[in-house]
């Protein structure tokens, strides 16, 4: 995976160089606008029995980059990776008669099961709040709205709780220096998908900023976490034929019990 990413990076660098010389030849024309091209190192991540998380490389280039060096800081990059949308219930415990029990709850729709922002520096330094809000970049700008509109103040606490719990679970992250330029136009970042990452389709958006404004159109790509092999078979069996799954589970347990009895029989 790492190797293929490197190969693509080298290819991308070569392309940039070629573009650079091409641009020099047409210096008289007005400077063309920057656009980005990007991709992820792995489009399909198999989730099998030995899945313990994976690292995905996000990389891309700025076409018509005006930067002369990697650390000139003319541009900023923000990468948003969002997992499949979930419908979830957030519950809050309260002390009732000495016991901590779930007392109040809110339902939320369209909560990303996974959400990571990689950027070249803290996102609040990259662009003003309205710009980030419009694009939905960063925890503060993520749309997490409860189904019921009543109790807006309380709902805010539940929203914060979702961000906090998901962060603790390693599913939500903001990485302020998660993307770096490695050439005047080539950038690269890496994102860790933990073992508990939800299975399904992930979207990755790459945004280019220049002087606090979005430059060019964002680049969007997908990656897929797919159940595979034995675990996939077990999962589908359990959900598609639950009765048979139960019967087979019992049969396996009985068989295991018999085998153990035969194996260790002493009389």
């Amino acid at each position: 995976m790492e190797r293929s990413a490197k190969a693509i990076a080298v290819l991308a660098l070569t392309l940039c160089f070629w573009h650079g010389t091409a641009a020099a030849q047409t210096a008289a024309a007005p400077a063309p606008r920057e656009t980005i091209e990007a991709d992820v190192s792995t489009r399909e991540v198999p989730v099998g029995g030995n899945f313990s998380g994976t690292r995905v490389i996000v990389f891309g280039t700025i076409e018509n980059s005006k930067q002369t060096t990697a650390d000139e800081g003319l541009y900023d990059i923000a990468v948003v990776i969002a997992g499949p949308r979930e419908e979830l219930t957030a519950r809050r415990k309260a002390n009732v008669a000495g016991l901590w029990i779930n007392a109040s709850s809110f339902n939320f729709k369209n909560v990303p099961g996974y959400y990571t922002v990689l950027s070249t520096r803290p996102i609040k330094d990259i662009a003003p709040k309205p710009v980030l809000w419009q694009l939905g970049i960063g925890f503060d700008n993520l749309r997490i709205v409860p189904e019921m509109t009543a109790g807006a103040k309380e709902a805010g606490e539940f929203r914060d709780a979702i961000l906090r719990v998901k962060t603790q679970q390693g599913l939500y992250r903001e990485v302020p220096e998660g993307v770096a330029f490695i050439g005047r136009s080539l950038f690269r970042g890496s994102v860790d998908l933990p073992a508990n990452a939800p299975v399904g389709e992930f979207n990755a958006w790459v945004y280019l900023f220049r002087k606090g404004e979005l430059a060019g159109s964002p680049y969007k790509t997908k990656l897929d976490l797919k159940r595979q092999g034995f675990e996939r078979a077990v999962y589908y069996f359990a959900y598609v034929h639950p009765l048979w799954y139960g019967i087979v589970s019992v049969a396996i347990a009985l068989l295991a019990g018999f085998l153990a009895t035969m194996l260790f029989r002493r009389d």
Binding site: G49, E87, T89, R92, F158, P242, L263
Partner: protein
């Protein structure tokens, strides 16, 4: 903790260390072999502690109980220690109780109260049984020290003997109403679905002290009904709640059968009442640990779950 051999559990949907699960199975298997209990009451809380959703923990616990009961049930059957009639009567009740339990789990899960209910049931049942066992075994130890002989408690008629629908249970040499065994079966079947246990810790004392079933038949009859009720509960949980993790169960069983062999050998070196006192202490420790989880203010008051599940 460093994961040596990670495995992704397809139904629990978490990644765990194979060695940790097998080790847990072995530890509980050792205790089951030592004390002659199923060990479901230890497996379920341990699974919840390592992050397995509680509904998956109880359902997988039932699946594990099926495997761990086979060996004992066969041995008791070969020695003729099973009262099939009494076992079947209890089993009928057990199927009813288990069915109710499985639907109660599904309903409480929707309400967001399933974790609480499972914990409360554990704390109550283990607290009561553990205390009774501790008192009884300490008394027995104290009496043997003083040289008294434990009194035989076969005679004596309780209110249970005044109930109608009397049945003759030949193997147990009993002529009692069918109501107590059916009621016991319903109760244990319910516990089986809620706690993921075989229920021997309730059935055995109930048969001995309430129904006066001869001790040599008690274990065999209990195991006979346990294996069927646990099998039925497993199927129902898989069917209605999709909460049986067969991979997790198999790993626990592998550890369990190995551990049990050592447990049985270790158990032969200890006296009955000493074993019961140790088991009581473990049962109470689990109850106290779970009680703390309910009483202490949790670090995070909020929890997330899928809507309707």
């Amino acid at each position: 903790m460093e994961t040596v051999l990670p495995v992704y559990l397809p139904i629990a949907e978490i990644s765990v260390d194979v060695l940790l699960i097998i080790g847990m199975g072995a530890a509980v298997g050792f205790l089951s072999g030592l004390f002659g209990v199923g060990g479901g009451f230890l497996i379920t809380p341990l699974l919840i502690f390592i992050g397995v959703p509680s509904t998956v923990a109880v359902a997988t616990g039932s699946n594990q109980v099926v495997a761990s009961s086979v060996s004992g049930a066969l041995a008791q059957w070969r020695r003729g220690n099973v009262d099939f009639k009494l076992g079947t009567v209890m089993l009928l009740g057990g199927l009813v109780g288990s069915t109710v339990g499985v639907f109660v789990v599904a309903w409480l899960k929707k309400k967001g109260q399933v974790d609480l209910f499972i914990s409360l049931t554990y704390v109550t049942m283990l607290g009561v049984i553990g205390s009774l066992m501790l008192v009884e075994s300490l008394n027995a130890i104290w009496k043997t020290r003083r040289g008294d002989l434990a009194p035989a408690t076969r005679e004596g008629h309780s209110w249970l003997h005044g109930l109608p629908f009397k049945q003759r249970f030949h193997r147990s040499k009993l002529y009692i109403s069918a109501i107590p065994p059916i009621a016991l079966g319903i109760f244990v079947g319910f516990l089986s679905a809620i706690m993921g246990v075989g229920g021997g810790f309730v059935v055995v004392p109930a048969l001995i002290y309430l129904m006066r079933v001869p001790t040599n038949v008690v274990i065999g009859t209990s195991l006979f009904q346990t294996i069927f009720v646990a099998a039925y509960t497993t199927v129902m949980q898989a069917w209605q709640n999709q909460s049986v993790d067969a991979v997790l169960a198999l790993l626990l069983v592998v550890g369990g059968v190995i551990g049990a062999q050592f447990g049985v050998r270790a158990g032969q070196k200890l006296k009955g009442e000493q074993l019961r006192a140790m088991l009581a202490a473990i049962v109470l420790a689990v109850a106290i640990r779970l009680a703390f989880g309910l009483i202490l203010r949790p670090n995070e008051l909020f929890s997330l779950s899928a809507i309707g599940g």
